[in-house]
Amino acid sequence: MEPTEEDKLLNEVTGKSYEFGFTTDIDSDTIAPGLNEDVIREISAKKSEPEWLLEWRLNAFKVWSEMEEPEWAHLEYPKPDLQAISYYSAPKKKKEIASLDEVDPELIKTMEKLGISLEEQKRLSGVAVDFVMDSVSVATSFKDKLAELGIIFCSLSEAVQEHPELVKNYIGTVVPQRDNYYAALNSAVFTDGSFCYIPKGVRCPMELSTYFRINEAGTGQFERTLLVADEGSYVSYLEGCTAPQRDENQLHAAVVEIVSLDDAEVKYSTVQNWYPGDEEGQGGVYNFVTKRGICHKRSKISWTQVETGSAVTWKYPSCILKGDDSIGEFFSVAVTNNMQQADTGTKMIHLGKRTRSTIISKGISAGKSQNSYRGLVKIHPGATNARNFSVCDSLLMSDTCGAHTFPYIEASNPTAQIEHEATTSKIGEDQIFYCQQRGIDEEEAIGLIVKGYAKDVLNKLPMEFAVEAQKLLTISLEGSVG
């Protein structure tokens, strides 16, 4: 049989190899593989941590040791051998870094390849970037400007040293150690991450941005981010990442905690493009992330994510709407291709009165991938007049991929209003042909249609991120543009 339009499309889509698969050659300081109490003590010692944090880690390790890896997700993968992973890897410090000029030229090169050179970011978009290479932050910019406003934006390790009271006060309050298997693991072994504190009434004047990158072969990444928006403050936080191509699976088990105090607003945007493995599903990053925020009175948290990477993704950015009149939002585009598997969605836990949540999830599946939306909307008895609106759409690019929707709704208050819409559609050959008949080539047509489909989510991203997100969608699905 002649190859059909779809076969060709499929080939193009699946024939795209990972563009950001390169490794930076940087001298690293790595702990021998394995996990036990001594390793945790060593991590803590290397980071000169206070006693309370070591105790906290050891407690988490104890909790984790008694837990089992969860199996309820619609995912199939060999369980990572957690004893074969090295739990600490830091680029060796040559000297103290006072300015960007002193940053390792290899790092600068990496950033340039990614199109995110700090210099350019600083000059063009006014974004303060905290660049995380493996586990230790090596460059932080705009700190002085933020400091004038009392905003703290630094690595978590630095925050532990400089602002221990803040860290101690909030760490583990949104995602408790025993929340889940990987959150417990992260609590025991996290090496670094970002910390952000916005003081009362302060509106952060720029987008805060962190780029994650997994770099050391065989190194698990256990980032931990803590973001505290004090009363009446506002911040928009961007997280984006790409990873070098690897043959073995790499585990990433991050924890992100957001505390949004009374009348505060937090926008948290993610563009995620970790190595998804090759066409047979070899290699690729395992991304088991716990992201959660808590909203106090009249506060708001918006999660926006564009996910195109990882071999296996297990991720549910969630909101606990504790305060009356608080708002939670979740906007997501998740693309899976080849053998990728994603089980992602959100949880909206309504506790306060008149709490509102919105969920817009757009899944795009291609190749032989499996893309699942799993969401929970839970209205507690006290949440009088709570409202939720959910839209879960799936777009299929091939006959061999799968899209699944698992929406859970638990309403324990009769005044709750919950709306749920879901659609599944196949990318229309008619739509592609219509574009072609107007002189738009096939690849561009697919790009146009997919971007149109994801528009409701892409529109929620900050301008400087929207461009990168569109680029990622294009790279993931079009075949040659990029």
Partner: protein, 244 residues
């Protein structure tokens, strides 16, 4: 402009076009009529390069190039336009972004730089007024929530934007009330010129009162069985197809 020789095409295992011959000269308007299932829309699809149809024999020369050798977008860029019978909706893609991508796709093919924003908007304004397409429709997603008449007007608007050498109108009159028919026809007539040709596929003579053809062909069983002037359409209207 267009020379179709002995064209055979099938959809799946069914042969639909069975040795179709047609020549269309520059500036000419050809109407193609015929009973249901005679292959009218298949002809439009085959000419524009829809992959669901397989050409098994024949040759199509389009202004000196081998039409069947090109993919659908290149045929469009060479100046072949199809006004769809059922224009599709593309949610989330604004009519303007779509049109810009189309115009620039055509320009790139002709070795031109992308169109300037101001020039584009000026052109949009001119072409939209041709078919009384209001601003509201221009800013909406492609055909999404458009009425039948609005969709057809949008087709003619796109045709005006792209200035094709040959336009194939596939049952453009279907689903149109008399006012919309008048507007659409005026748009088409305004675009008639000595170097632009039209193939008008229709069931009804009514459209040909507005868009007066130079030739009328009757398609039956996958080939053209009768050709005449515009009066042939009137004859078909009264007598039906059985007498041919």
């Amino acid at each position: 402009m267009l020379k179709i020789k002995n064209l055979h095409a099938k959809a799946g295992e069914t042969e639909i076009l069975r040795g179709l011959n047609l020549e269309v000269g520059p500036g000419e308007v050809h109407a193609i009529m015929g009973p249901n299932g005679s292959g009218k829309s298949t002809l439009a699809s085959v000419l524009s390069g829809r992959e669901a149809y397989e050409v098994t024999d024949g040759f199509v020369d389009f202004d000196g190039v081998d039409l069947l050798d090109m993919d659908a977008s290149d045929r469009a860029r060479e100046g072949l336009f199809l006004a769809f019978q059922y224009p599709v909706e593309i949610p989330g893609v604004s009519n303007m972004n779509f049109m810009k991508a189309a115009v620039n796709g055509n320009r790139a093919h002709a070795g031109l730089d992308p169109i300037k924003g101001t020039d584009f908007l000026q052109k949009v304004k001119e072409c939209a007024s041709l078919v009384e397409l209001d601003g509201r429709l221009r800013d909406r997603s492609v055909n999404e929530g458009f009425s039948g008449g609005e969709k057809k007007r949008n087709e003619i608007f796109q045709m005006a934007m792209l200035q094709p050498k040959l336009a194939v109108l596939d049952e453009t009159d279907s689903g149109l009330d008399i006012d919309a028919l008048r507007v659409v026809s005026q748009g088409v007539n305004a675009m008639r010129s000595s170097d632009r040709s039209f193939i008008v596929i229709t069931h009804y003579q009514r459209l040909l009162d507005y868009i007066v053809p130079d030739f009328v062909h009757v398609l039956s069983g996958g080939k053209i069985v009768k050709t005449g002037g515009k009066e042939l359409a009137l004859e078909l209207e009264t007598k039906g197809y059985d007498w041919i």
